[in-house]
C-alpha cells in the first residue's frame, strides 16, 4: 500500500511539473509536426508510394515512434537535474523501495510521452491516416510499451551519469542509431547486407514494425514477435534501471 502511494507521489510530481513547463510540451509537439509535414511532404513529393501508401502516411507510424523514442530517452536527463539540485535526496531517503522510485519516475516519463502521442493521433485523424478506435487503442498500448522501455534506458543512463552534458553525449549515441536503423523512415525489407543485420538486432525495429502493422496493416514480422521482443527488452531495461537506482 505504502509502496503504491510512493509510486503515485513520484508520478504525480512528474506529471504536475510536465504540465507546468509549457516549453516542454510545446517543443515536443513541434518537432514531430515538422517531420510529418516538412520531411514527409518534402520527400513525399519525390517518392511515389511506399507499400501502397503515400510517403507522408507511410512514415506517420515511424514519426510517432520517433517522438516516443526521443521524449522517453531524454526524460532521463531530469534525474540528473533532480540530483544536481538535491531534490532527489528527499525521495532517496524516503521509506519506499528503489524499485518504486524507479517505477514512479518511469511512469512519469511515459506519461509525458503518451500525452504527445495523443496529440499526434489527433493530427493523424486530420491527415487521413486510417485510424479506427480499435486501432487507436492497440497503437496506444504498443507505444506505451515502447515508451516504458525507452524511459527505462534514459533513466539508466541518467542514474549513472553526473552531468547533463554527458547525458546528451551518451544519449545521442543511443538515440540516432536506434532511430535510423529501425525502419521508421524507410522499409526494412529493402535493405541488404550489414545494414539489415543492424536493423534485426535493433529492438526498436520491432516496435516500429508493430505500430506500423497496427496502423497501416503492413507487417515485416509477426505481431507476437514484435510484442515479445519489446516486452523482453522493456523487462531487461527496467531491471537494469532498478539496479541503477539502488546504487544511487
Amino acid at each position: 500500500m505504502s509502496e503504491i502511494e510512493g509510486i503515485y507521489a513520484i508520478w504525480l510530481r512528474e506529471a504536475k511539473i510536465y504540465m507546468r513547463e509549457k516549453e516542454r510540451v510545446i517543443s515536443s509537439i513541434v518537432s514531430p509536426l515538422l517531420w510529418i509535414f516538412a520531411f514527409g511532404a518534402g520527400v513525399g513529393s519525390t517518392v511515389e508510394t511506399v507499400q501502397g501508401y503515400s510517403y507522408q502516411i507511410f512514415i506517420y507510424p515511424g514519426v510517432v515512434v520517433m517522438t516516443v523514442l526521443f521524449a522517453s530517452l531524454f526524460y532521463g536527463v531530469y534525474i540528473i537535474w533532480d540530483r544536481k539540485l538535491d531534490f532527489l535526496k528527499e525521495v532517496l531517503v524516503a521509506p519506499v523501495s528503489r524499485a518504486s522510485v524507479f517505477a514512479g519516475k518511469a511512469l512519469g516519463g511515459a506519461t509525458d510521452s503518451m500525452i504527445q502521442v495523443v496529440f499526434l493521433l489527433i493530427i493523424g485523424l486530420f491527415i487521413s491516416v486510417p485510424l479506427t478506435p480499435i486501432v487507436i487503442i492497440k497503437a496506444f498500448l504498443m507505444l506505451l510499451l515502447i515508451s516504458i522501455a525507452m524511459v527505462s534506458i534514459g533513466l539508466v543512463i541518467g542514474a549513472n551519469l553526473k552531468s547533463p552534458e554527458g547525458f546528451t553525449l551518451v544519449i545521442n549515441f543511443v538515440m540516432w542509431p536506434m532511430f535510423f536503423f529501425s525502419g521508421a523512415l524507410f522499409p526494412v525489407s529493402n535493405l541488404s547486407g550489414w545494414l539489415s543485420a543492424v536493423t534485426f538486432i535493433n529492438p526498436l525495429t520491432y516496435g516500429v514494425d508493430a505500430v506500423r502493422g497496427i496502423i497501416l496493416g503492413t507487417h515485416q514480422f509477426p505481431i507476437f514477435l514484435d510484442v515479445a521482443v519489446m516486452l523482453l527488452f522493456s523487462l531487461i531495461a527496467m531491471g537494469i534501471g532498478v539496479l541503477s537506482f539502488r546504487r544511487m
Partner: protein, 330 residues
C-alpha cells in the same frame, strides 16, 4: 531540557550506535573511526568547525552515503544491510536545500506525506499543524521558487518533522531563520522529543542553541570526536568562569602557577583567564595580578568550550571545507 522523556518504552535505549565508522574521500577521512552512542529520547548536538565531518556522518546514518568501513545502526537496524528499515525510522532536514522548486509548499508537504506513509486521516491536519509552526500558511499555495531563502528553510523544516519520525536528523536546521521562527520550531521539536520519545541529532553553529537544547553534545574535528558530554559538564570541567582583566604592568608568570587557573590568553592587551570557580578564587587571584585597570567576570559558555577544543580562529581554507589543509597534512 534534562527531563526524562515520557513516551519512551523501548527496551533498547541506544538508538544510534556507530562502531569505528569511517568515510574517506580520497586520502582524507571525513569521518574517522567514530564511536558514538545516542540514547532514545535524547537531543544530541554535533558541533564542529566547517569541514569537521558532521554532514558526512549524518549522510551515512540516513543511508544516502555508504561508509568506507566500520558499522552503524539506527533504531537497531544496520545502515548498510537494512537501509529500508532505517529509512522507515528517520526524518531528516538536509543542510543543502532539497524542497522542490517547481511545486508549491503544500504540494511538497503532500508528497512527503505519501512518501513517508503518514496515515490518510491525519494528513491534512499535520500539514496544517506544521505550516502554522513555521508560519507559512499564507504562502503555502505559491510555488517554492517564489519563496525567500528563509521561507524555503522553514518549509524544509516543516517537511522534515511532519511525519513525526522516531529519529530526527537536523543538519544546521535554523541557519538563516529569524529568531521567532527558531523559537517556535525548537519548542515544537523539544515537545515531540518528550511526548513521542523522538530522538534528535542536530548540528549547529549557534552555540547558545546547542547549550539550551541539547542533552549532550559532541565536539568533532577532523572526523573524530574530541569531547562528548552534557553542556553543563563541559562548561564546568573545561572553562569554569572567565575573568577578563587589564593589568597595569602585564605579567602572567605568577598567574600561570595558580592551580585554579586553567588557561591564560592575551588578546588586545587584555588578559582572559579560565578559572575553576571565580566566586571562590577571585579575591586570591587579584592579589597575584598586581594593580589592575579593569576586571570583568562571566560564567563560561559552550562557545568557550568550543574555542578551547577547536581553536580560536576560523582556520585558513577551512570555510571551503578544509580540503587542501588536510591534503597537506597527510
Amino acid at each position: 531540557m534534562n527531563t526524562k522523556p515520557e513516551g519512551c518504552f523501548s527496551e533498547e535505549p541506544v538508538v544510534i550506535k556507530t562502531e569505528a565508522l569511517t568515510r574517506k574521500y580520497g586520502k582524507i577521512s571525513a569521518v574517522d573511526s567514530m564511536n558514538l552512542e545516542v540514547k532514545e529520547g535524547e537531543i544530541f548536538g554535533l558541533l564542529g568547525p566547517n569541514g569537521a565531518g558532521k554532514t558526512t556522518l549524518i549522510s551515512m546514518l540516513c543511508t544516502i552515503l555508504k561508509p568506507t568501513s566500520g558499522r552503524a545502526s539506527v533504531n537497531g537496524f544496520d545502515i548498510v544491510k537494512e537501509p529500508g528499515k532505517v529509512r522507515k525510522s528517520i526524518g531528516i532536514v538536509f543542510q543543502a536545500p532539497s524542497v522542490d522548486d517547481l511545486l508549491t509548499g503544500r504540494e511538497n508537504l503532500q508528497m512527503h506525506n505519501l512518501l513517508f506513509g503518514v496515515p490518510r486521516e491525519i494528513r491534512k491536519q499535520r500539514i496544517h499543524e506544521v505550516l502554522s509552526i513555521v508560519n507559512l500558511e499564507k504562502r503555502a499555495d505559491d510555488l517554492v521558487n517564489t519563496y525567500s531563502g528563509g521561507m524555503r528553510r522553514r518549509l524544509e523544516l516543516a517537511r522534515g518533522i511532519m511525519h513525526h519520525p522516531k529519529i530526527l536528523f537536523l543538519d544546521e536546521p535554523t541557519l538563516g531563520l529569524d529568531p521567532q521562527t527558531r523559537e517556535h520550531i525548537w519548542e515544537y521539536i523539544s515537545d515531540l522529543a518528550v511526548k513521542e520519545c523522538m530522538t534528535v541529532m542536530l548540528t549547529t553553529h549557534y552555540m547558545e542553541e546547542a547549550e539550551s537544547l541539547c542533552d549532550r553534545v559532541a565536539i568533532i574535528d577532523y572526523g573524530k570526536i574530541v569531547v562528548l558530554d552534557s553542556p553543563s559538564e563541559l562548561k564546568n570541567q573545561i572553562v569554569g568562569d572567565v575573568v577578563k582583566l587589564k593589568q597595569r604592568t602585564p605579567d602572567t608568570e605568577a598567574l600561570k602557577k595558580l592551580e585554579y587557573v586553567r588557561k591564560i590568553e592575551v588578546k588586545d592587551g587584555l588578559l582572559y583567564l579560565s578559572i575553576k570557580d571565580a566566586s571562590k578564587h577571585l579575591q586570591d587571584l587579584l592579589t597575584h595580578t598586581g594593580s589592575i585597570d579593569f576586571v570583568e567576570v562571566r560564567s563560561g559558555t559552550l562557545n568557550d568550550v568550543f574555542m578551547h577544543y577547536t581553536g580560536r580562529e576560523i582556520r585558513e581554507g577551512e570555510a571551503e571545507g578544509g580540503f587542501w589543509e588536510r591534503m597537506m597534512k597527510k
